[in-house]
């Protein structure tokens, strides 16, 4: 029997405001008079009416809610339309699962009782709205990839007496479980299989294998040698393991005369050299070998860090893509060594401009519309919100950048810092090894058709062939239960030998990876727990359904392990056994369906030598506007790339775990900090400090300097806040576009070489990294004519360091009137692709961003940073802000807004070599820091600074005037802090 329980708010529902606000932005202002939101629980079961009644009572908080069973008309009162948003069949319904669990518990039913709960939101809408308006509203509320919308007007609802009682069950048509794919076919077909996927019985292609002809031929030859054709699951398995996403072929392959490839030569190469140089001061423990990079925190603990991207999924389903991104990278922490505890999340978003409403389509017929930047932005922000907040991990660090070219694919960076004792039960915690004879155990969520071809899909351009199933749905609580059970209990009980994350490629990759540790694996695929029946073996094998980890559990420990997991509400299943057969063997109902040599699976991928071709780009210089710089400063401050994103910082819990030291927002003016600090171990005064650096626009001119500046900025932000170079490491994330283009490859090599040079120069080892090489969109515009949007090549450098004493930390805002303001470092005419020149280019309606992109002077900066470290350790400065986008003028504005204190600044003798005041104000020369010093510390401060370039440029004033004079003592900026504060927070306020 099917019945519906409606839970209905009795009091003013504050969600209404948010919905009305967003609907009114759909140019239907005022048409909607009223909305009410009912929560609907559709229950498919053989429960008695009384049991349904009990369940309804339990789902209702009588003080703020009431319930109604099946009856909606009376409750809805007068209305024009009803709009119901629910999930598509098979899509994870977290609330439904919880409701089911509570009902089972309440009525003391058996776990496996036949009881299904489907939840949905019912919007009861009254006003002068027409059907097309409701359709508009619906499309703003739901994502057709994962959700369904039901619309009916009052008349119809009355006719059918309430909403239909129909359960959205999954029906998968019966297919032959395994098909043989003949590779004895013409090249064209081989190419087609590689590019569009295996031809299914129903005549449709299954979606990209992302295997090029060379790879297909190697596979062809391999199976020729075996004297048989491959099964579909074997091809899918190879495609996953060989995908760009998993094998990082661009970084691994030989390129030009770099035989060992970029990764081995420059990334790993740099780290190896630095570790040698540091000798016994080397504090790297596990780098590039595990799910995260691990370094020494103190005698007892390691900290780990990993930064991932989830760009492609976020473009299709922003919320789902972002939430699975953040909980996914959490698993890279739980999957480090024997399992580290996630102690901090970081994020970084690159969006198209939210005000941009020009539509893009994935197909010529314009039936498949891309989500507009605003939808992507809202969804991504919410995804990281729910993922981080629900998991009890503080989201301490983040940034947001905007550029038109991120509207095809946004960049969604998500990272997690972990903590793990250096030794567990006497064993080094970062070492793990699956043993032949151990059970292959999967724990956590069940497998469904969601997240199929994620790995291969993110290795190609997004176009009309992009598979819908590549989207996954996250459930943070399922993972939180798993995480606690492993990290807080099973780990110290020594119940498993090895653990890894199920991410890209699902179990096909995680199991094959662990099989390396012992030399083989055997899997009984039908033992894998499923969300619903009817999945083909190949789907089960590669599905990226979320919240799962794979462990190797010794047979004699299985019972204890299983009991522990059960008592923590975590499903654990034995699906096979690790072996030393040198093979990856998979069976389905007794028949062998995968039989591939591990050697071929992991190392069979043919080398594909790459070639690059140098490109030099020149841009015209912008037309400079004469007159006061006040207006320009205010316009720059209003630019979203500089403006505050406090509306994000405030909705992310950054204080859970009680570790907060330097928060995302600082001072009375609540400015976003460029570095954040937290205290992971209560008994230690040591802290962990985080920051990031990136300049996507610099890459238009020169990717070498783009990468150098990103690296210098990440490091400078850390030093400026109280970190130390001797305990600092960095992570690299390369997000590129059309990576087989020789010009793009040249730009990539340049960027990588810069990382090599400067990481060695600063002695900051790279401990982990990730690349996402195909951030291109091919589709159609509003007129139906083809368009291609590629992101600007972007290098993100994240820095993580250990702070000896958190008490020494310095925040960026001015503290006290009367303090002196100093500029450290040298300024040059380096305005190329700066925020200022981008502003001018925008005004000139052209691309005149100039050419003098900032360059990094290692030696000079090192001296500056060492001196800065010393004055901070001696507690001689009151505030410190690193100069980044927008230059000195923006740095001053932020320090003033942060402290809600004015300042009086003279540009008369700025160290360095500049041709005018614009350079002094807006140049983005690297290696510069703005600090304030209280009168009593000036002599001590200047003594330490005497050997570096610095200048006292002004004073913090008690009135709120913000005044800058040029070398001729002429006022060129004259405004006040209150006004700057309002401008700085303007965008965030509109987002409340």
């Amino acid at each position: 029997m099917i019945s519906r329980i409606y839970v209905i708010p009795k009091i003013k529902d504050s969600r209404e405001r948010l919905f009305l606000k967003s609907w009114n932005s759909l140019n239907i202002q005022g048409k909607v008079k009223n909305i009410a939101i009912f929560d609907s629980y559709l229950i498919d079961s053989n429960l008695s009416n009384d049991q349904i009644l009990q369940s309804a009572k339990m789902l209702t908080n009588p003080i703020i809610e009431k319930f109604s069973i099946n009856e909606i008309l009376k409750e809805a009162k007068k209305f024009n339309y009803i709009l119901e948003i629910g999930f598509l069949p098979g899509v994870t319904d977290n609330v439904g699962n919880t409701a089911r669990e509570t009902i089972v518990d309440l009525l003391h039913l058996k776990k496996e009782v036949n009881l299904k709960v489907y939840t949905s939101k019912v919007f009861i809408i009254s006003g002068t709205v027409k059907l097309k308006d409701i359709k508009e509203i619906a499309s703003s509320l739901y994502n057709p990839l994962i959700e369904r919308a039901y619309i009916a007007d009052a008349k119809e609802i009355k006719k059918i007496r309430g909403l239909p009682l129909k359960a959205p069950e999954v029906i998968l048509e019966k297919r032959t479980p395994v098909i043989i794919v003949s590779l004895r076919v013409p090249e064209e077909e081989l190419i087609k299989i590689g590019r569009e996927g295996i031809l299914d019985a129903n005549g449709e292609r299954r979606g990209p294998l992302a295997l090029d002809l060379a790879s297909m031929k190697v596979i062809q030859k391999y199976f020729e040698k075996l004297g048989r054709d491959p099964r579909d699951i074997e091809l899918e398995s190879l495609a996953q393991t060989w995908s760009e996403h998993c094998k990082h072929t661009i970084f691994a392959n030989p390129i030009d005369d770099i035989k060992d490839g970029l990764y081995k030569t420059y990334i790993k190469g740099a780290t190896n050299e630095i570790r040698k140089l540091k000798g016994r001061n080397d504090f790297c423990v596990s780098v590039f070998s595990d799910n995260s990079g691990g370094i020494i925190f103190d005698d007892d603990f390691l900290i780990t860090h990993k930064v991932e991207t989830h760009n492609s999924p976020s473009a299709l389903d922003p919320f789902g893509g972002a939430i699975t991104g953040i909980v996914g990278v959490n698993r890279d922490t739980i999957g480090f060594g024997l399992g580290a505890k996630p102690i901090a999340n970081v994020y970084g978003f690159c969006f198209g401009y939210p005000e941009d409403t020009r539509a893009l389509y994935r197909d010529k017929e314009k039936t498949r519309k891309m989500l507009p930047p605003k939808r992507i932005m809202d969804g991504v922000i919410k995804g990281v919100n729910v993922g981080g907040n629900c998991s009890g991990i503080p989201t301490v660090s983040g940034f947001v950048k905007y550029d038109d070219r991120f509207k095809g694919k946004p960049l969604v960076f998500v990272g997690t810092v972990g903590l793990i004792p250096r030794k567990i039960n006497g064993k080094l915690s970062h070492e793990k090894k699956a043993e032949a004879g151990d059970y292959v155990v999967v724990i956590g969520g069940r497998v469904g058709a969601d997240g199929i071809h994620g790995a291969t899909f993110s290795s190609v351009t997004m176009d009309s062939k992009s598979p819908a199933t590549a989207v996954q749905i996250g459930d943070p609580i399922t993972q939180k239960k798993l995480s606690d059970a492993i990290v807080k209990e099973a780990r110290s009980m020594n119940l498993y030998n090895s653990i890894t994350d199920n991410g890209a490629g699902g179990i096909s990759c995680s199991v094959a990876e662990m099989a390396k540790e012992c030399g083989g694996v055997f899997v009984d695929l039908e033992k894998v727990p499923l969300k619903y029946p009817g999945l083909s073996p190949w789907q089960i094998w590669i599905s990226e359904s979320q919240e799962r980890m794979t462990l190797s559990v010794p047979k004699k420990k299985w019972d204890v392990f299983k009991r522990l997991m059960e008592s923590r509400g975590v499903e654990a299943t034995v699906i096979g056994e690790f072996t030393n057969s040198e093979k990856c063997l998979v069976k389905w109902e007794g028949k062998t369906i995968v039989d591939i040599d591990l050697e071929f699976l992991h190392n069979g991928l043919p080398k594909r030598p790459l070639e690059s071709k140098s490109v030099i780009k020149t841009f015209s210089e912008p037309k400079i506007i004469k007159g006061s710089r006040t207006k320009i400063l205010e316009e720059l401050l209003a630019d979203k790339n500089i403006n505050s994103f406090s509306f994000i910082s405030e909705q992310y819990d950054h204080e859970v775990q009680a570790s907060s030291v330097l928060k995302p927002l600082s001072g009375p003016g609540r400015i976003n900090t460029d570095a954040q600090v937290f205290r992971p171990v209560f008994s230690s005064k040591k802290g962990v400090i985080l920051s990031a650096g990136l300049y996507p626009s610099y890459g238009d001119i020169n990717t070498y300097h783009m990468a150098a500046c990103a690296l210098d900025t990440a490091i400078r932000n850390i030093i400026a806040s109280g970190g130390t170079l001797s305990r600092l490491t960095i992570l690299d994330n390369f997000c590129w576009c059309s990576s087989y283009d020789k010009g793009r490859l040249y730009e990539l090599i340049e960027a990588v070489k810069a990382c090599y040079k400067y990481s060695i120069g600063y002695r900051t080892p790279l401990i982990s990294g990730k690349d996402s090489m195909f951030n291109d969109f091919k589709g159609y515009d509003e007129k139906g004519s083809p368009v291609a949007v590629s992101i600007p090549p972007t290098v993100l450098i994240s820095a993580i360091g250990v702070v000896p004493d958190i008490k020494k930390i310095v925040s960026p805002e001015f503290k006290n009137a009367g303090d002196s303001i100093y500029l450290l470092g040298e300024t040059f005419d380096e305005l190329g692709a700066s925020e200022y020149y981008k502003l001018l280019a925008g005004k000139n309606k052209n691309n005149s961003i100039g050419n003098n992109v900032p360059e990094v002077d290692l030696e000079r900066n090192l001296k500056t940073y060492w001196a800065l470290e010393e004055v901070i350790q001696k507690e001689l400065i009151a505030s410190s802000v690193s100069l980044i986008s927008g230059g000195l003028a923006i740095g001053l504005a932020k320090a003033s807004i942060g402290g809600m204190l004015g300042c009086k600044i003279s540009l008369s003798d700025i160290p360095g070599k500049i041709s005018g005041t614009d350079a002094a104000l807006f140049s983005e020369s690297q290696g510069r820091i703005l600090v304030s010093v209280s009168p009593k510390h000036i002599s001590g401060f200047e003594k330490i600074m005497k050997n570096i370039s610095y200048e006292k440029i002004g004073q913090v004033s008690k009135n709120n005037k913000f005044i800058i004079t040029d070398e001729k003592d002429k006022k060129i900026v004259d405004t006040n802090v209150k006004k700057l504060y309002d401008i700085y927070h303007n965008f965030s306020n509109t987002m409340q």
């Binding site: 003080i63 699962n97 998991s391 509400g569 009680a658 001072g667 009151a878 409340q992």
Partner: protein, 269 residues
């Protein structure tokens, strides 16, 4: 030998965990820094051996996201507790014990019906993390007897909130009761944080500015703000300005609540 005796003297705190509660470790740390011994116990372990509840003097429902707020914050966890442990809960409350629910824990206590009122979506419909100033209404003038054990020495205190469903709701009749029985623990007020960062006093739109309430003669405390996140000097948004004026605090004020709870039992002896 001596040591064991000493340990035995310490009041025992049980802190529940499981299903997405996530502040149990810092809550344990706070109670132990205040002089207690605290055990983190998974709700399923308590259901398996409900008897152990009688060994404890203080029960804490920590903050978190039990069941991801599915079906309503605190609801599912409270139902599980009700379905299996109502007898033990009654027994616990019948003794001279203390109970605290923080954030999600407060939502659980109201869903359990131990405390009046309910908590629902913030007025702006969004999750919010910031600091608030609180007036300790629970700190009653001496002449009023039966003041809450949680409040000695606490008049005004600033603590962080972090929640999406923190708007306290109560009907007029019950509110009058609440006032009459002196059951209001904390109200949002304009204090040093609001002045420092120019913030509104009541960010979630709670009725009558209520941030926390009391039950069972002040022995049961439910509150949205997080005292366990305000126990170190560096927790406060003010610490940098305090440092620059050479006026850094030794510890955060949040610890006082935990000390009061522990001292309540030490004094009894």
């Amino acid at each position: 030998m001596k040591k064991i005796k000493l340990k035995f003297k310490k009041p025992k705190v049980i802190i529940l965990s499981g299903y997405g509660l996530n502040c149990e470790e810092e809550t344990k740390f706070a109670f132990e820094s205040a002089g207690g011994v605290a055990d983190i116990v998974h709700i399923n372990d308590l259901i398996a051996q409900p008897g152990i509840l009688s060994e404890y003097q203080i029960l804490a429902f920590p903050g978190g996201f039990s069941y991801g707020d599915d079906t309503g914050s605190g609801k599912a966890y409270a139902n599980k507790f009700k379905n299996h442990l109502s007898k033990e809960l009654k027994e616990f409350l019948s003794r001279d014990t203390l109970m605290i629910g923080i954030c999600n824990g407060f939502q659980i206590l109201t869903s359990l019906g131990i405390l009046p009122g309910a908590l629902t979506y913030n007025k702006n419909g969004k999750y919010i993390d910031r600091w608030v100033d609180l007036k300790a209404e629970g700190n009653l003038p001496r002449r009023v007897k039966a003041g809450s054990p949680w409040f000695p020495g606490i008049k005004n205190i600033s603590l962080p909130i972090a929640h999406g469903e923190g708007r306290y709701v109560i009907d007029d009749k019950e509110y009058k009761e609440l006032k009459k029985k002196k059951q209001i623990a904390f109200t949002y007020s304009k204090g040093e944080i609001c002045k420092y960062q120019n913030l509104e006093k009541n960010p979630n739109g709670a009725m009558h500015d209520i941030a926390g309430v009391l039950g069972y003669n002040g022995r049961v405390l439910g509150m949205m703000p997080h005292p366990e996140r305000a126990i170190f000097y560096h927790h406060s948004p003010l610490w940098q300005i305090q440092k620059s004026k050479g006026a850094l605090e030794k510890e955060g004020k949040g610890i006082l609540l935990f000390k009061n709870a522990i001292n309540y039992f030490i004094k009894l002896r």
